[in-house]
């Protein structure tokens, strides 16, 4: 049995898959680089995987060719659910896929594929939802700043969308749950890890004015005779309201 230690990133995971496949391992254990995953007394030594862009890309090519690009995208979304044990679930998925080939994506009634399919769709749904839920605020420092706390690690699905859309201002989307931010500087975006707020963000003078205008517009737009807060809560769950300007 192979025991692999990787950096927790998607690229790192793909590099690990490359290695494990080359070793012809069957049962595999994945360990993330983190203080709380120090080896237990009876654990064997872990192989430290060096994250390599080349390996990751090679795996992607291979999986897309032998199975399908759609299957790779399921793998990618599902991985970002960050669900406990996702590495092993996807390891089964990958092995099954390399046996079954292009049929994998239609095997959604199979338990192993079904679990991946559900997770992937949940992540993709959340990423789509957040394309609407991100709220930028204008900061004194001269950029737009948005805070989010999504369930899944969706920031890398959001960043390209906003880079294409709000391309004339620098912006930062900050995932406070994971202390990671997507930073856009007019030329392109990149992820910055271990970001913490040192103080509360300072909004520009105009910012509160626009937010207030939006809030009052939002309230007036509801038709009183059709009031249905239960439906509203289903569509905008309380947990996603924290940074929505109109619910403040």
């Amino acid at each position: 049995m192979g025991r692999y230690r990787y950096d927790g990133s998607f690229e790192g995971y793909l590099s690990t898959l490359c290695l494990a496949l080359a070793e012809r391992d069957e049962a595999v254990e994945f360990v993330r680089d983190a203080p709380e995953t120090e080896p237990g007394l009876f654990d064997g030594p872990a192989i430290a995987v060096v994250t390599g862009k080349g390996e990751a890309a090679a795996f992607r090519e291979r999986f897309a060719a032998e199975v399908s690009p759609e299957a790779f995208s399921m793998l990618c979304y599902a991985f970002h659910s960050e669900r406990e044990g996702i590495e092993n679930l996807l390891w089964q998925y990958v092995r099954l896929g390399l046996q079954a080939g292009p049929r994998l994506c239609s095997m959604i009634a199979d338990k192993r594929v079904n679990r991946v399919d559900r997770l992937a769709r949940a992540v993709s749904r959340e990423a789509h939802r957040y394309k609407g839920f991100v709220r930028f605020r204008e900061l004194e420092e001269g950029f737009l700043y948005a805070r989010i706390e999504p369930e899944a690690y969706i920031i890398r699905f959001l960043a390209p969308h906003f880079a294409r859309r709000v391309g004339d201002r620098p912006w930062v989307i900050h995932d406070l749950r994971r202390s990671v931010a997507a930073v856009y500087d007019l030329a392109g975006w990149r992820l910055v890890h271990d970001i913490t707020l040192t103080g509360s963000p300072r909004f520009t003078g105009a910012e509160e004015g626009w937010a207030g205008l939006w809030r009052s517009y939002f309230r007036r737009l509801a038709v009183e005779e059709r009031r249905n807060p239960k439906l509203q809560q289903k569509l905008v769950p309380l947990r996603s309201r924290k940074y929505l300007v109109e619910f403040e």
Partner: protein, 441 residues
Amino acid sequence: MRLILSVPPCRISPMTNLSLEQRLALLADSAKYDVSCSSSGSSRRGAPGMVGSTGRGGICHSWTADGRCISLLKILLSNVCIYDCAYCVNRSSNPVPRTVLTPGEIVTITMEFYRRNYIEGLFLSTGVVVSPDHTMEQLLRVARRLRREERFNGYIHLKVVPGADAVLVEEAGRLADRVSINIELPSRRSLLLLAPDKPRESIIEPMRRLSGLIETSRLERRRSRNAPRFAPAGQSTQLIVGATSENDRQIMTLSEGLYQRLGLKRVYYSAYVPVSSDRRLPALAVPPLLREHRLYQADWLLRFYGFASHELLDDAHPHLDMRLDPKTGWALRHLEQFPVEVNRADYHLLLRVPGIGVRSAQRIVKARRTCRLGEEELKRLGVVLKRARYFVTAGGRYLGGISMEGPELLERLTAPGGRRASLEQLELFPARDLSVVTGEL
């Protein structure tokens, strides 16, 4: 015969000494009865030097307290109106405060809201002032500034004013993603009664012209990717339900014609909210929301499920059954076609099974290529069997557990698990983002 109004139309002048916030609120009040807010149907990537992009499925940014999605900044340029349509909150005889926003103000608000990601774009409408041409020109002024000066590449939905000059209507289509003219009421007679200033021709004619221009542009763009776009997200319309006496059959036949002959993207149905005590209008205690909901379900069946309106409604059944969704109603009248075997039935037949939607039907067809489907597998696929179980077999086994012919079937379908009461609520309203399934909000 024209009825004499109880309140004489008065000359109204807009209040301009209000703050921006007050005016925005007043104009939101005036715009909110327009149902459409979809930002779908147009796909345009962002470009350097421009702000904004559009996505095929549209994006909802928030939901108001009535559970309706906000995607676009839905606003009136002015709620001053020379017309006196009885059902409309902005009719000239209605003593509500009137105000205007300048094109510059709307442009600024749109850009500021868009950058903060409050909205997907702008849905601009207005009351009719001076003349249809003058009014249309005001709307165009906003759209031109957004596109040319602000280099705004996001979604724009423009209302076309009935009676406006063809040249102006054409320009609207070149600037906007979607254009719409509200048909308002389902029949010529009702229109004459409640909106005497808007003859049916002044509505249908421009719709027809838009439809031709949209089709032409679509064909040209198929030949050359550089051909100019004309309302790439098509045109939509809205009609008010429950303010006049038309039955559901008349309404659905009208919609079917609009979809088939004029190629409309959407017909919106708006349950009449009593905004007026005009005696030509019914005195409703609450808007007919359940009826509106059933009409939307039937509309979905026309657009995505291959149903024809005469299958859902005919002389014997001119109204949709309020107890059942229209597909279940149809299935109960056609029990001879059921049960269908999920492992064999073709896609179009699966779509006709009550409780099986587009997504479920697609997943069934996909999954059965590699696996024989039983009840367990169907559940795993996420197929909701609450209604479907009475109409299918899985691997030869009937999942309903009761006789299909008995009266028990209707009973089970009309009172599913004691949730009867919530039918009056809008919970079943298809406002969810179905874009992934249908490419259309």
